[in-house]
Amino acid sequence: MTVNDVIKLLDATALTCTDKLDTEVLSACGSDMMSDVLAFAKTKCVLLTGLCNPQVVRTAEMMDIVCIIFVRGKKPDEAMMELSEEMEIPLLATPHRMFSACGILYEQGLRGGTEHG
């Protein structure tokens, strides 16, 4: 699966880094707690979150997150968009809520990257 596939599956809009949507995605992590993302996110992971502040982009940078998906139509501000361009981490927005967005990706074979799935 690539970021482009994720966009199609989640009816999402790419808000930044539109030239970096061919990147491969191997796992996903859904959380509003950045502490949990820092403790549990795996490699080549997309991050689904309802949290919308610059620390989300910073956390994604530290964890080499492939792209950030803001659920239920949340829109990042200018500062976050600038930071994401600088970090080369695409920001996506989907109208789906967290549970549905995760479910759609899971249904298509994306997993959490742990032995429990």
Binding site: Q55, R58, M63
Partner: protein
């Protein structure tokens, strides 16, 4: 003795949105030095957690990074309130972070345990009312 590269950062507590800038810069430097991705990831996680802690709990402080051929050492020095019970603070899920920090996505009580998990050694010197010095080492 082999050369040791040293970098120092002042961490400010004035603007939480800037927390992580030091970790971000260290990550870029390690990439340029050709350090392995696994080590960069561990340094990034441990340092970022530590930097966030400094901003949340200790009104900022100083980060010193020492890079030698054998190891990467991260020293986080603050003049914050100190940690009353280190054992408790090292327990996953234990947190004293205020609600405004939780609203920003932190304060789950995973910081120190995660710093320990990602480093080869962690040493915490703390004195109530004086400050805390966290020294973490990752072997290369």
């Amino acid at each position: 003795m082999a050369d040791v590269l040293t970098f120092t950062y002042e961490v400010s507590d004035e603007d939480f949105t800037r927390a992580g800038e030091a970790s971000s810069d260290v990550k870029k430097k390690l990439k340029k030095l050709g350090v392995s991705p696994d080590v960069i990831r561990r340094v990034s996680i441990a340092l970022y957690e530590g930097e966030i802690n400094m901003v949340i709990h200790a009104n900022g402080g100083t980060i010193t990074i020492l890079i030698s051929e054998e190891s990467i050492t991260m020293i986080l020095d603050d003049k914050g309130p100190g940690i009353p019970d280190i054992e408790k603070a090292m327990t996953a899920g234990y947190s004293t972070a205020p609600d405004n920090v939780r609203n920003l996505g932190f304060g789950a009580g995973m910081g120190l345990p995660n710093m320990k998990k990602n480093t080869d050694s962690i040493d915490i010197e703390t004195k109530i009312g004086v400050g805390t010095k966290v020294t973490m080492v990752i072997n290369l």
